[in-house]
């Protein structure tokens, strides 16, 4: 089984994708990078889209903002969605600012009934505009709140139940948050319903000893590969990508890393079938 493996499209690799077919099944684009008026970004997007299916992945929707969603942002996202015709549209379960300010970060939510109501309201609004289920990604986090009433995976499951949205499980983010907050990453994997998961992200992080920081500037580490194996056993075959945002290597190097994911998926899923 070798299909269903992709990469995040980065400017450093535009020429590689334009020059010749590359062994990826789809590309994930950062929606925000293409919500611009024109020029090279949109021209490259159109040219590369002609040859690869795409997923749109956003970083600025701020689905957990108590102030609600930015309607102009949603309008621009919809225009891009109509241009790209992506397989799906994703963003993060987080908030990024309130009162008209933007912190440009993926800040964790308290897992409370009140936050659940806010996220449910906002997801429904986004899905109304997009006319398709939103896919939400779990974020890496460095703080937990005194007010939280449930686990992150319980919260995510409730959002899915309430809205019909789907999940992008970032295996690295589970690993990072589990270390930072001293919970079992397996509990997260086991705590999410099989039917809700649409995509996996794999990425690297920075180990600062006391805390892991989700930097996306390192290769995937052994612990994350092990957790990927666990996720494959539970969720089966799920479209998977390597996400690299900084210290970006050559495309062949990233494809080699993606091939590791392919080999692991083949190994785990073929073994599972044999059993």
């Amino acid at each position: 089984m070798t299909s269903g493996f992709g990469l995040g499209l980065r400017t450093e690799h535009y020429n590689d994708f334009l020059a010749e077919p590359q062994p990826v099944d789809w590309l994930e684009v950062i929606s925000d990078n293409y919500m611009v008026d024109g020029g090279k970004p949109l021209a490259m997007l159109d040219q590369i889209r002609a040859n690869y299916p795409m997923i749109m992945h956003g970083v600025s929707m701020s689905i957990g903002s108590v102030n609600g969603l930015d309607k102009e942002y949603l309008r621009k996202l919809k225009i891009l969605e109509q241009r790209v015709e992506p397989m799906w549209v994703s963003d993060h379960l987080c908030w990024s600012g309130v009162h008209g300010r933007n912190l440009h970060d993926l800040l964790p939510l308290p897992y409370t009934e009140e936050a659940l109501q806010v996220v449910t309201r906002n997801v429904e609004q986004a899905q109304e505009v997009l006319q398709r289920p939103l896919v939400l990604e779990n974020v890496s986090s460095y703080v937990e709140y005194e007010s939280s009433e449930m686990t992150e995976w319980e919260f995510l499951s409730e959002v899915c139940k309430a809205t019909g949205c789907r999940l992008l499980l970032d295996i690295n983010n589970i690993y990072v948050s589990a270390f930072n907050h001293d919970f079992s990453p397996s509990s997260f994997i086991e705590g999410v319903s099989v039917e809700s998961v649409t995509q996996f992200h794999l990425a690297g992080h920075l180990d600062n000893g006391d805390i892991l920081v989700d930097t996306h500037d390192h290769p995937v580490c052994d612990g994350v590969w092990d957790l990927y194996r666990e996720a494959l056993l539970r969720f089966g075959y799920i479209p998977t990508m390597i996400e690299r945002d900084d210290n970006i290597p050559s495309l062949p190097e990233l494809i080699d890393e993606l091939n590791v994911a392919r080999a692991i998926a083949d190994d785990v899923l073929n073994t599972k079938v044999a059993l």
């Binding site: 925000d32 919500m35 611009v36 008026d37 024109g38 020029g39 090279k40 970004p41 949109l42 021209a43 600025s60 903002s65 108590v66 930015d70 102009e72 942002y73 908030w95 600012g97 309130v98 009162h99 008209g100 300010r101 933007n102 912190l103 440009h104 970060d105 800040l107 939510l109 308290p110 409370t112 009140e114 936050a115 806010v118 460095y142 703080v143 937990e144 709140y145 005194e146 007010s147 939280s148 930072n180 907050h181 001293d182 006391d210 805390i211 920081v213």
Partner: protein, 256 residues
């Protein structure tokens, strides 16, 4: 504490002049303290925005050097909250900020404004451009032609030899010593193809560009220039200008 209070407090904590911690963050049994955990976000917020400024104002950063630029950028981040969804737009007020911070080094804010406008031209709106054939076709029809500037076209005024400084930096050479120009120059900035372009404008071309941007027809532009520059051979100069505008892809024409 409800969600609104928590998000407002969290945001305030990141905007503060130092990371003071917060009692709504859980203390962990191991690893970092709650304050140090909040500090991860506090620092990331600043580093992310300083990185964006460093990227957008690339020539300015090189001109000032890392230490000085980082200090100015950090001061800007502390005093200017982002109101933009698109992080690339953060920095719109940075050239003005530099002008206020460095009143004796005004070439710095001029350089920053140039960096900013070139960056904005990069992903500004697309448009059709007029070609020599288009112009000849319209002229042969005897049509009254109203020119329009492409959406990325903009101008800026420089009082110093900032343009030479920019070129020096761009060619990885030591930039020239700053000098105030005998009189200000006008710089034209736009995108041709995928690449931002710029060049300086003569006074007559600058006046002509003002006419184009205000939607005048070819005939009225000529008349305006003749009135403003009675000593000039306007017919010849305007013809040369028009040719260059077509080559530069800065205009498209519409029938009046």
């Amino acid at each position: 504490m409800n969600l609104s209070e928590l998000q407002s407090d969290f945001q305030r904590a990141l905007f503060d002049t130092e990371c003071k911690g917060a009692d709504w963050i859980s203390e962990s049994a191991r690893g970092l303290s709650a304050r140090d955990r909040l500090d991860v976000y506090y620092n990331a917020y600043r580093l992310r925005l300083i990185d964006v400024l460093m990227d957008t104002f690339e020539h300015t950063a090189i001109y000032l050097g890392d230490d000085w630029f980082n200090q100015l950028a950090a001061d800007f981040v502390q005093s200017h909250h982002s109101t933009y969804k698109n992080i690339g737009l953060y920095g719109r007020e940075f050239p003005d900020f530099l002008a206020k911070q460095l009143p004796d080094d005004m070439e710095v804010s001029e350089l920053a404004l140039m960096d900013w406008k070139l960056r904005r031209a990069f992903d500004g709106a697309d448009s059709a451009v007029m070609t020599q054939d288009d112009l000849q076709q319209l002229a042969s029809e005897g049509t009254c032609i109203r020119l329009q500037a492409v959406p990325t076209l903009t101008t800026c005024t420089q009082q110093f030899n900032t343009l030479d400084i920019w070129h020096g930096i761009n060619q990885e050479e030591t930039p020239p010593t700053v000098e105030q120009l005998p009189e200000p120059i006008e710089l034209l900035i736009w995108r041709k193809g995928y690449s931002p372009h710029f060049r300086s404008l003569s006074k007559i071309e600058s006046a002509a560009i003002v006419c184009v941007r205000s939607g005048e027809t070819l005939d009225t532009i000529g008349a305006t220039l003749e009135k403003e520059f009675p000593e000039a051979d306007v017919a010849t100069e305007f013809g040369v200008m028009l040719h260059r505008w077509l080559d530069d892809e800065i205009i498209f024409g519409v029938r009046d």
